[in-house]
């Protein structure tokens, strides 16, 4: 028996003499040759590589039953059993199947701009946001340079494709952020609460977004926080406007981290230097505290982030209805935001993301008409309407959220995702002495599937079922998207979706027959991108139904539309070390909502918006220069006044603002640039918005009788910021390497 086993070994030298020639061709499923495919006889040295026409040939000395294997990058491994004769030629026609993989497969780009290093086709990353000239490291300000967003600067928010600011919602790690901006001040836009450096990825969907998100008629800004910081560090920031002290500690095994920081903003010194139009009797002051921890689990991560802030300010402006009176506005705000999420790879193709969010926001506001000596003023019955301008307002918004998303990888990279979310919100508001409360239980079920027919053709189908107890309505929102690669670097995509949003709490206080407001999006997109260049053309049509009307009674009988075309071009190739992007948006929109007497172009919509953002980092002087220029044609403004019989609002006055122009400039000096793993990193930043001092008219405020109008302008023509950001750190990358040895 043993001898029989040994026998073939003795015959080995003889076998060398007899060879079989194997020739043939390797093709893919569509009959195209696969150059570079490697063909081999398993467990032997014999094999060959397909040439540029897919042809191959080699000889083998193997005999009998053998396995032939074909491998090619981007294709599934192919095996075939061969019965090899002693000699002769064997001709093979081999067909191998394309491997659908995430890196090669087409992604739906209709409607969305991805930002961050994590995403392919990312438009910009955290650093790009921080270095957008004039944006002052504000996420919203940077995203305003992308097509689809309006250059509105008298109120905060992203006004997307004919949508109001509240039609764009922000989401962090899956849950909605209820108060993403610092509290509103009349006619002055406020910054966002979150630093771009908290996030590893951001997607700005200007329409047609995923069924995983809802309650935003126009756009969704989804942000994903960073997983594990690279290093332990102490951070300090100093400026005439603010001071920050914080630390981030990463465990030596890089499995967990925690961080805290405190930031204080006081603009008193700044307001001395840069005169503001309003009379600030209480200079804006902010205390912000942040905390976080992250723990790596077996196949995922638990992340917690919290921020607490208190801000106060008070300002006076001339009263429009009289020559000597003033309107005083005083605000005190507390905001506490919490986000806890757990992402886990459950194995067997299953993934899970659980997130919870809790936030509470309290605004204590008083408005008062004051006399020349800043004393409260009471009015005679004849002008009792003047008393309407004096009031106290307490507004608390609390939202608790729970969301679970499960994902299952099916054959190939096809995936299905489904889950559910629940938001509890309450909004007690005390106006003068009356308390109103709006409480809502919002539930949603959602499912979404990604199908890849080939690497070049993909579909996303989704649906979202929503219920809000406050209006006691249920709605089903279908979503669909498709992407088709038409060339090596170009693709077409299409997105469709229905989007629902419950009316704002301010509109729900008065009862009435209210339903979900609704928008239907149709988006067609063409994208051509290489690593350093991107061209994106998009056309859209958006239909609004059931917008909120506030007159003659509160209901959802409003309607409208928006349509337009947009262009985006980013180029980092043509001029070395020079990066620029250009955005252009054309928008045609009209709506009949609130107290509008008919279909009108809303005051936040300009027909043409253009931005160019340029960045140049000059290495020898370790300094970056960033210039941003934005232009928008005039926006309409209206004075709507109730007619004599009180049955209808009429347009008492209307017009168009002058065009909007803004040149923003920032410079950042980074002395540690170019040093790998520098212990100390320092960045010196200076930022100026509206360098040229263009008049940025947002509209007009009207007197009670409509006879006087005052322009709405920013509190100062230009705004400035200088600061130095320093971090001292220990890079944990080295520790990891040491521990693994």
């Amino acid at each position: 028996m043993k001898k029989a086993l040994l026998l073939p070994l003795y015959l080995l030298p003889l076998a060398l003499l007899a060879q079989v020639k194997i020739t043939g061709m390797v093709k893919d499923g569509r009959g195209k040759p696969v150059p570079g495919a490697s063909i081999s006889i398993l467990n032997s040295y014999d094999g060959g590589v397909a040439d540029s026409t897919g042809k191959f040939n080699f000889t083998t000395t193997e005999k009998g039953e053998q396995k032939l294997q074909v491998n090619a990058v981007g294709y599934k491994m192919f095996e075939q059993t061969l019965a090899l004769e002693a000699s002769g030629t064997l001709e093979l026609q081999l067909s191998i199947k394309e491997q659908i993989d995430e890196l090669k497969a087409v992604v739906v780009t209709a409607g969305s701009f991805a930002a961050g290093d994590a995403k392919r086709g990312a438009v910009m990353n955290s650093l790009d946001i921080a270095t957008t000239g004039g944006a002052g490291a504000d996420i919203t300000a940077a995203f305003k340079t992308l097509p689809g967003a309006q250059q509105v600067n008298d109120q905060e928010g992203l006004f997307v494709r004919g949508g109001a600011g509240y039609e764009t919602k922000q989401f962090i790690d899956g849950t909605m952020v209820n108060n993403p901006y610092f509290s509103s001040v009349p006619d002055i836009s406020q910054r966002g609460r979150f630093s771009p450096f908290l996030f590893k990825g951001m997607v700005f969907a200007t329409g047609g977004y995923s069924a995983l998100y809802g309650q935003a008629l126009s756009a969704a800004l989804t942000m994903e926080s960073i997983d594990m910081p690279e290093r332990s560090e102490i951070d300090v920031a100093l400026s005439p406007l603010f001071a920050t002290l914080g630390t981030q500690q990463v465990a030596a095994n890089k499995k967990s981290s925690w961080g805290i920081s405190y930031n204080y903003v006081n603009v008193a010194a700044y307001f001395e230097l840069v005169k503001q139009t309003p009379d600030y009797f209480k200079v804006p002051q902010f205390h912000n505290a942040e905390g976080n921890f992250r723990i790596k689990t077996k196949g995922g991560i638990v992340k917690y982030y919290t921020t607490f802030s208190n801000s106060s300010l008070g300002l006076r402006r001339p009263d429009i209805d009289s020559a000597y009176l003033k309107d005083a506005f005083d605000l005190n705000n507390y905001n506490w935001y919490n986000n806890l999420s757990w992402r886990e790879n459950l194995g067997n193709g299953w993934k899970m993301q659980l997130s919870t969010g809790f936030s509470t926001n309290r605004d204590n506001i008083w408005m008062q008409v004051q006399d020349a000596n800043n004393q409260p003023k009471q009015f005679m019955p004849a002008v009792s309407w003047m008393n309407n301008k004096t009031y106290r307002l307490y507004n608390r918004q609390t939202v608790a959220q729970l969301k679970a998303v499960f994902e299952k990888r099916l054959a190939g990279i096809n995936t299905i995702r489904f889950g559910s979310e629940y938001w509890y919100s309450e909004n007690p508001l005390r106006f003068r002495d009356t308390t109103y409360n709006v409480t809502d239980n919002y539930n949603a079920l959602f499912a979404e599937a990604n199908f890849y027919v080939t690497n070049d053709l993909a579909f996303t189908l989704g649906s979202r079922l929503e219920h809000a107890s406050v209006i006691n309505k249920t709605a089903l929102a279908p979503r669909a998207a498709m992407a088709y690669k038409i060339g090596k670097e170009s693709q077409l995509s299409f997105a469709y979706g229905m989007f629902y949003q419950k009316p704002e709490n301010m509109e729900l206080r008065y009862g009435g027959d209210m339903g979900f407001t609704k928008a239907t999006h149709y988006i067609l997109n063409y994208t051509k991108s290489t690593r350093l260049q991107m061209l994106r053309l998009e056309a859209f049509y958006k239909k609004y139904n059931r917008l909120v009307r506030t007159f003659p009674e509160y209901n959802t009988s409003g309607y409208g539309y928006a349509q337009g075309a947009e262009l985006f071009w980013r180029d980092r190739k043509t001029v070395k070390f020079f990066d620029y992007w250009v955005s252009y948006s054309y928008l045609d929109t009209k709506r009949n909502y609130q107290n509008f007497p008919g279909e009108m172009q809303p005051g936040f919509a300009a027909a043409h918006t253009f931005s160019i953002v340029t960045k140049r980092f000059i290495m020898p002087i370790k300094t970056g220069f960033n210039l941003t220029y934005s232009f928008a044609t005039g926006r309409p403004y209206y004075n709507l006044m109730l007619n004599n019989t009180g049955t209808k609002f009429n347009i008492a006055d209307q017009g168009k603002t002058t065009s909007f122009k803004n040149l923003g400039f920032s410079v950042n000096y980074v002395p540690s640039a170019g040093k790998l793993n520098a212990k100390t990193n320092m960045v010196l930043v200076a930022n100026v918005s509206n360098v040229l001092g263009n008049t940025q008219l947002s509209g007009y405020r009207y007197s009670y009788d409509g006879s006087v109008k005052q322009p709405i302008l920013p509190p100062a023509k230009r705004s400035f910021m200088i600061g130095v950001f320093i971090s001292w750190g220990v890079d944990r990358t080295d520790d990891i390497i040491n521990n693994n040895l």
Partner: protein, 208 residues
């Protein structure tokens, strides 16, 4: 009985020897092919041949090393080729080799592959891939501080980095000198890599 066992031992000895000769011949043949490769297609043919040898042998890291080296050279020789794909293939081959043995030469391939990936987009990738590339060389030094290829690669990295980024010819020169000295002193085992010293010597005049 004893004779029978002896016979088996002898026979299997002969068989191993035969197998080993076949291995040596195949590696030598393909080394010649690798050295004479002029085009990307030649390099891919050599790489595939080495990978087949590695797959068939199962206990030899050298075929995978040469298969990976051919991928790296393909990336160097044709800048228009998909650099990421070639580097990824090289790293996959190194991983196969490292399942058998880890050593300084395999770390040098890791260094070259991650450097290729870094150079695709230095502005954005320099932090991640740059760190990986330098970590690979640190690991190589820990594995064998006398490997001349490490210092040749360190020298090339310095040579290619502008002085304002902390590189430059002055800093590259001592590294090339070290590579030359170590290259001359290196006891090369049959079939094992022995490049680095000669390449460093060619770089020295350029550092003046």
């Amino acid at each position: 009985m004893k004779a029978f066992i002896l016979a088996i031992a002898l026979c299997s000895g002969i068989a191993v020897q035969a197998q080993s000769d076949k291995y040596v011949q195949a590696v030598q043949k393909n080394l010649a092919l690798l050295d004479s490769s002029k085009t990307s297609a030649d390099l891919q043919t050599a790489s595939a041949a080495f990978e087949r040898i590695g797959d068939a042998e199962k206990t030899q890291w050298l075929p995978y090393y040469y298969a990976a080296l051919a991928q790296v050279r393909a990336a160097y020789s044709d800048k228009s080729a998909d650099q990421d794909a070639l580097a990824t293939k090289a790293l996959a081959l190194v991983s196969k080799a490292e399942a058998i043995e880890t050593n300084a030469d395999l770390y040098t391939i890791r260094n070259m592959a991650t450097t290729i990936q870094m150079l695709v987009d230095p502005m954005n990738r320099w932090q991640t891939y740059g760190s990986q590339a330098s970590a690979a060389l640190q690991n190589a030094i820990k594995a064998n501080p006398d490997n001349p290829r490490i210092y040749y690669l360190q020298g090339m990295a310095m040579f290619g980095t502008p002085a304002q980024y902390g590189g430059g010819k002055d800093k590259a020169k001592p590294l090339f000198e070290k590579a030359v000295a170590l290259g001359k002193a290196e006891q090369v085992k049959p079939l094992h890599p022995h490049w680095g010293g000669a390449e460093a010597e060619k770089m020295l005049p350029l550092c003046q």
